[in-house]
């Protein structure tokens, strides 16, 4: 394992397997009446969130607490620039309190990366702008692995607002590293700049159309589409988006009977995902993702912090 988890680039397939093995053990703990493990007793983890988040912050908080770490949530909403304090000053102030690890969420791409260069404790990226959300990709691939076994040769469709999605950027790397093939599906306006060159170099496919991709998909990952993107001219109306790219009841017919459907949440029911898809008992793994999230984050915290000497 590397010292920080800033990007999926920091974990290769072997490291992911290790994280998954530990996550599986942690997953069992979740079902116990007494959930605490002593692994991080005496350690302090700060959830430093510069951007609103309920589920990711809670997931990290629970994960830390079940490992017996002292977890403190710090909300630093609003850019530090607007408060006249540099990001570096904010972060150095927090770490000077004596922390053993930072879990960072920031609205700006690269923030976790920059922060890791300023502090001497492990940094876990809990989402940086449009860049990456590595623990989300780890919990998604962990969920898929439990469902499908090895992902080698499996075909995964990632569908939606690719441009603005850190979930996409982390997942495409994680899936490729685990041997899956990936098709990224979106209208051209919601595809990142230069994605054709990236796809060619990294070895994934892109498509402007969803229907031809679904029949061969072993799993479908739906991304959240923010309604405010319409005003940015990314697509004309919600109705038109749903017809082109929504996982509608009709499109479910193109999927296998037990093909897993993932969504990082929060879901826009009726826009990118229909109720029939979200609630499909045999296919939807949305709640499995949430529960896996805690286990995977326990595993990541354990691997990054348990070996660290207390300063």
């Amino acid at each position: 394992m590397t010292r920080h988890l800033l990007s999926i680039d920091d974990v290769d397939a072997a490291a992911m397997a290790e994280i998954f093995d530990t996550a599986a053990e942690m997953h069992d703990v979740q079902r116990r009446a007494v959930k605490k493990l002593p692994a991080l007793r005496g350690r302090t983890v700060i959830n430093l969130f510069f951007e609103d988040s309920t589920r990711t912050r809670s997931s990290f908080e629970i994960a830390g607490k079940w490992l017996s770490a002292d977890v403190i949530n710090l909300s630093a909403k609003g850019s530090s620039a607007s408060k006249g304090e540099s990001l570096r000053d904010t972060v150095l102030t927090v770490t000077a309190m004596g922390v053993d690890g930072l879990v960072v969420r920031h609205g700006a791409s690269g923030a976790a990366h920059q922060i890791s260069q300023w502090v001497d404790v492990p940094v876990i990226n809990a989402g940086d702008g449009m860049h990456e959300h590595p623990t989300q990709a780890l919990l998604d691939t962990y969920t898929l692995t439990r469902r499908l076994g090895s992902l080698e040769g499996k075909h995964v469709a990632i569908v939606g607002d690719l441009t603005h999605s850190r979930v996409f950027r982390s997942n495409v790397k994680a899936l490729l590293e685990l041997g899956a093939s990936v098709t990224a599906v979106a209208p051209p306006t919601l595809m990142p700049a230069g994605i054709d060159d990236w796809a060619k170099a990294a070895g994934f496919a892109t498509s402007y159309e969803l229907d031809p991709v679904l029949p061969s998909a072993d799993a479908v990952m739906m991304l959240r589409v923010q309604r405010e993107r319409m005003s940015g001219g990314y697509f004309p109306t919600a109705r038109e988006y749903t017809v082109g790219y929504g996982l509608t009841r009709e499109r479910l017919g193109l999927l296998g009977a037990d093909t897993p459907i993932l969504h990082p949440g929060p879901m826009n029911r009726g826009l990118e995902i229909s109720a029939d898809a979200a609630d499909s008992v045999d296919r939807s793994v949305v709640l499995d993702q949430v529960s896996a999230g805690v286990a995977v984050r326990m595993s990541v915290l354990y691997h990054l912090l348990a070996g660290e000497e207390t300063p």
């Binding site: 990007s7 680039d9 850019s79 530090s80 620039a81 540099s86 990001l87 570096r88 000053d89 920031h106 609205g107 700006a108 791409s109 690269g110 923030a111 990366h113 920059q114 940086d128 702008g129 449009m130 860049h131 990456e132 850190r166 950027r169 990142p192 700049a193 230069g194 994605i195 060159d197 990236w198 170099a201």
Partner: protein, 440 residues
């Protein structure tokens, strides 16, 4: 600084025609140029220029001196020091200070601060629009008629994006032979968060992209407006091959357009932002952004063939804390005055794309002409001309250390790079501002 205007002899300098000569400077002018060694006589001070190249003093069309408003980042005095060390005898100080240089009084204030510093001629650039807001014309005529004699107008940092405003500005400055220096950035295509060349890398890094086309559509529009108005437009810091094509076409049509390129766009590329190269380092955040290698190559070609007229630094000092934000929030800009000449020497001369006469053209003669400073600066090396001169050691090899800078700021993208060519002496009207590479 040295006050005595005694005579000064530059011994054995290489001139632009590759001959070697002794140059006698007296009363602020070139008194004599002698090609017979020893024949030019003696002087109060002698500079041994053996192996050095003598250039007309460098002129920078694009400098941010930050005063008034951000004296913690740079002042007219500290910026003048950096300019002198960099071999400059004149710099144009951009208008985006606080308050903005959009009145005659504001322009005269900067002008006077420059004269008080006395190291280079600081020529204020006036804002095109009041407060750089892009809506109403600033008092262009009053600035032109002021003691500062403003001739170059720019809303630099902001593009004059309204075509009607740009048209009127171009028409209006014809009265006094002014020029609009445009920061070409269509805000609809590259908005306030745009911070990285839009391409494969920005897509992967998730950084808001600043596409080349946002520059190119403005360059295209502005050359058409220049043709329509019969006025003169200057394209600031050209950064893409497409803009170069547009300028080349416009010049072929006889449109009165000039263009500049920064030293950093001649060498640095956008992939410096990739995580494998450190990742998201705001030292490399600049506007317009660093572009891919193909653009860099096109800019070098264009500078060599004359499509691009001038090298201009876009020297943009920033306090350290203004760069220590998340990449998208960090300030745009990098230092440039002290390293411009070595950069051009390394990128253009060492590679054979420009000779030293070419350097004189793009760093002195052309910028002086564009700025309307050509009665004093960018003059031929000839008897009777003002002794605004720069002596360069073309063979010097040095590694840049940001802590050696005389600027107040340290946002130096060249730190740790080894460059060829160094300024050894700078003379402003015959008075050495720099000798042996050190400020006097």
């Amino acid at each position: 600084m040295t006050e005595a205007l005694g005579s000064l002899l530059i011994k054995g300098a290489r001139l632009l025609d590759e001959t070697t000569a002794d140059v006698l400077v007296a009363d602020g002018r070139i008194a004599e140029i002698g090609t017979t060694p020893g024949a030019t006589g003696t002087a109060d001070t002698t500079i041994d220029a053996d192996g050095l190249v003598l250039l007309p003093g460098l002129v920078d069309l694009h400098t941010h001196l930050r005063e008034p408003g951000r004296e913690d980042a740079e002042t007219v005095l500290t910026g003048s020091r950096a300019a002198a060390v960099g071999g400059f005898t004149a710099v144009l100080a951009m208008a985006n200070t606080s308050p903005v240089t959009d009145t005659a009084e504001a322009a005269e204030r900067v002008f006077d601060l420059g004269r008080a510093a006395g190291l280079v001629d600081v020529q204020p650039v006036g804002a095109v629009t009041k407060g750089l807001a892009g809506a109403e014309l600033a008092e262009l005529g009053l600035m032109a008629r002021s003691r500062a004699r403003v001739r170059v107008f720019s809303d630099d940092g902001r593009c004059v994006h309204d075509a009607r405003v740009m048209r009127r500005a171009l028409e209006y400055v014809k009265t006094f032979g002014g020029v609009i220096s445009q920061h070409s950035q269509d805000p609809a295509l590259a908005g306030p968060t745009a911070c990285c060349h839009e391409g494969e890398l920005s897509g992967r890094l998730g950084l808001p992209g600043w596409p080349g086309v946002a520059e190119e559509v403005i360059v295209a529009r502005d050359v058409m407006l220049a043709r329509h108005t019969g006025s003169r437009v200057h394209v600031a810091h050209v950064s893409t091959a497409g803009s170069v094509e547009m300028v080349r076409w416009a010049k072929a049509q006889g449109i009165d357009v000039t263009a500049e390129v920064t030293p950093h766009h001649l060498l640095l590329t956008t992939d410096l932002l990739a995580t494998e190269n450190g990742g998201y380092d705001p030292t490399y955040k600049v506007n317009p952004p660093l572009r891919p290698a193909e653009d860099v190559e096109a800019l070098r070609d264009a500078l060599a063939d004359g499509t691009i007229d001038a090298v201009a630094t876009d020297h943009a000092p920033h306090a350290r804390h203004d760069k220590e934000h998340a990449f998208v929030d960090a300030a745009f800009g990098m230092l440039g005055l002290e390293t411009a000449l070595p950069l051009v020497a390394t990128v253009m001369v060492e590679t054979g794309r420009l000779d030293w006469a070419g350097v004189a053209r793009v760093m002195s003669t052309n910028p002086a002409r564009i700025a309307g400073l050509d009665s004093e600066h960018g003059r031929p090396l000839a008897t009777g001309e003002p002794a605004n001169l720069t002596l360069v050691d073309p063979a010097a090899v040095a590694t840049v250390d940001r802590d050696d800078s005389v600027s107040l700021s340290r946002n130096n993208p060249w730190h740790g790079r080894t460059l060829t060519g160094a300024v050894r002496a700078t003379l402003l009207r015959g008075v050495p501002t720099v000798l042996e590479g050190a400020l006097q």
